[in-house]
């Protein structure tokens, strides 16, 4: 006879930078309503479907790895989400945005309209719930707007702004419309500024990250 393991896994959560910002704002935007799971740090090439000890050991190298503590930067955690898909899915949803990087000059507008491949066996689709667009440093842009989703929550998100330091900004839409900054002092002695744009499909969870470069105009 053996004892059954009755332990519950308890995790200590930390607030992200965005969480602290919304908590300080005190307008009710800090309200947890949903969760997601991710497998950041996991390298699936370590999965071994030919392990001599059998299928119970395929994930041995992954299961025993120690993990890093959580980062408070919301752009550096929850990168690769676990998704719910029908059993037998052979192809994962991937985002196609048409660019591997974006480089544009001060004051220039730029538009991105992502598509999702392989989502629910539909070929190429523009997701119904839209996409979240997160820029790591919103100071690089004069405008950063999500277009195409008109629910009250999304409109509230898209209309908020935080000024001052190098904070991220997230908008939701089927299309992203942005304009590079016209402020010269931001560049200092540099001729260009770089940030990261992360795009995540709100239905599929598919994610892509590309560098954004704004070039100074004399």
């Amino acid at each position: 006879m053996g004892f059954l393991n009755n332990t519950t896994v308890t995790l200590d959560a930390i607030l992200t930078k965005k969480g602290r910002e919304l908590l300080a704002r005190g307008d009710g935007s800090f309200r947890i309503t949903q969760f997601a799971l991710s497998d950041d740090e996991v390298d699936y090439t370590l999965y071994n479907p030919t392990h001599p000890s059998g299928s119970g050991f395929y994930g041995e190298a992954i299961e025993n790895m120690p993990l890093l503590e959580a980062f408070p930067d919301e752009t550096q955690v929850m990168k690769y989400k676990l998704v719910t898909l029908p059993r037998g899915t052979a192809r994962m949803p991937v985002l196609d945005i048409g660019y591997s990087n974006v480089s544009f000059k001060q004051g220039t507008p730029f538009t991105i309209r992502p598509n999702t491949l392989n989502y629910l066996s539909q070929g190429t689709v523009n997701e119904t719930s839209g996409y979240t667009f997160t820029i790591s440093d919103v100071r690089l842009l004069n405008s950063f707007n999500g277009v195409g989703i008109d629910t009250p929550e999304v409109q509230a998100l898209n209309s908020t702004s935080t000024i001052g330091t190098s904070v991220s900004k997230t908008v939701v839409g089927t299309t992203l419309s942005m304009t590079a900054t016209t402020i010269n002092t931001l560049f200092g002695t540099n001729t260009s500024l770089t940030a990261t744009l992360v795009i995540v499909g709100r239905d599929s969870g598919a994610r892509v990250s590309i560098p954004i470069t704004v070039t100074k105009v004399q």
Partner: protein, 326 residues
């Protein structure tokens, strides 16, 4: 889908009391006492007490208050009764009673004088823990003081919050099995946990162990030195602090059919999205490492990490309890 909505029953708010020792370095009982080696203009009002001779870690401050201003020199000889001890008396009377006409009442006996022990703010979290006080003082005899919180059935409140009487005893109970008060001068003082202050009744202490206060006008700081000598000459001062910690618990439930695939780039082969191993097509496995808590607009508010990856597949369901402290 990568997000799952939480139900109302997935949230739990729990308030728990956390207690700890007050003194530096987790010391349970303070047995060494030092005052500053240099004089200060504040010496007429209070003196800080340190744990080590390095005098870098204030533990508590001692003060003496006198309704008539005795025990220190007058600010101005032309104005009688206005002295630092009178100022201290009014300061604590205002803080404790919130009434300029009140007298200090120690278990039915009023007193015009008191000693105050004010615990350094950095030493405690929120307030002092009743029944944890054991203060030994010595004069002609020894005396151990505690509060009477375990002897009273209902708490008494003043303007400063809860108030307990200081009695002869330990760990919240009296030695004599009765009230623990002095023979004829009421209680030995007041224990005020919500403002982390202990008030000592000199009349009761004097009648028990012969430690007297000076009520002359030419003894600045002498009464503070008197109580310091009485405390430092004994074997210990113990008191704990307590803090109410409110935690939000969020229960995260992943059903058997959920979260079995991953958008991790190493899960995919090439740019077409093919699953990296055929074995993962019909028997997918994912390895969760992180839980993210979001608002309605998918903004990541809080994040929690597991200590090692947790396997998820179509034969497993997972329940995680995520704790959020504020």
């Amino acid at each position: 889908m990568s997000f799952k909505r939480l139900d109302p029953e997935d949230f739990l708010v729990s308030s728990d009391t956390v207690t700890s020792t007050v003194w530096s370095d987790e010391t349970v009982t303070l047995t060494t006492f030092f005052t500053s080696s240099t004089s200060s203009t504040n010496d007429n009002y209070y003196k800080n007490v340190y744990k080590t001779s390095a005098r870098s870690d204030i533990q508590f401050a001692l003060a003496y208050g006198d309704k008539l201003g005795s025990g220190s020199a007058q600010y101005n000889d032309l104005v009688g009764g206005k002295t630092p001890t009178r100022t201290v008396y009014g300061q604590f009377r205002n803080l404790i009673y919130g009434d300029e006409n009140s007298d200090f009442n120690f278990g039915g006996t009023t007193s015009e004088t008191f000693w105050a022990i004010s615990i350094e703010r950095a030493r405690y979290k929120e307030k002092l823990l009743p029944a944890s006080l054991n203060l030994k003082i010595s004069g002609s005899y020894n005396l151990e003081l505690t509060d009477n919180s375990t002897l009273v059935s209902t708490d008494t409140f003043l303007d400063c919050g809860r108030v307990y009487q200081l009695i002869s005893g330990s760990d919240g109970t009296s030695y004599d099995g009765g009230t623990g008060y002095s023979a004829d001068q009421g209680s030995y003082g007041l224990f005020l946990p919500d403002i982390s202050t202990i008030i000592i009744n000199p009349l009761a202490v004097s009648s028990s162990i012969g430690v007297e206060v000076s009520r002359s006008y030419d003894a600045p700081g002498e009464n503070i030195s008197t109580i310091f000598t009485a405390i430092s000459g004994s074997t210990g001062f113990k008191v704990n602090s307590e803090e109410t910690l409110s935690s939000d618990f969020v229960f995260v439930r992943a059903r058997n059919s959920e979260f079995n695939y991953s958008e991790n780039p190493s899960f995919i082969s090439g740019s077409t999205g093919d699953v990296i191993f055929p074995a993962l097509i019909n028997s997918p496995q994912s390895f969760m490492t992180t839980v993210g808590l979001y608002n309605d607009t998918n903004e990541l508010l809080a994040v929690a990490k597991l200590s090692k990856p947790l396997v998820k597949d179509f034969t497993k369901e997972t329940l995680l309890r995520v704790k959020l402290d504020f």
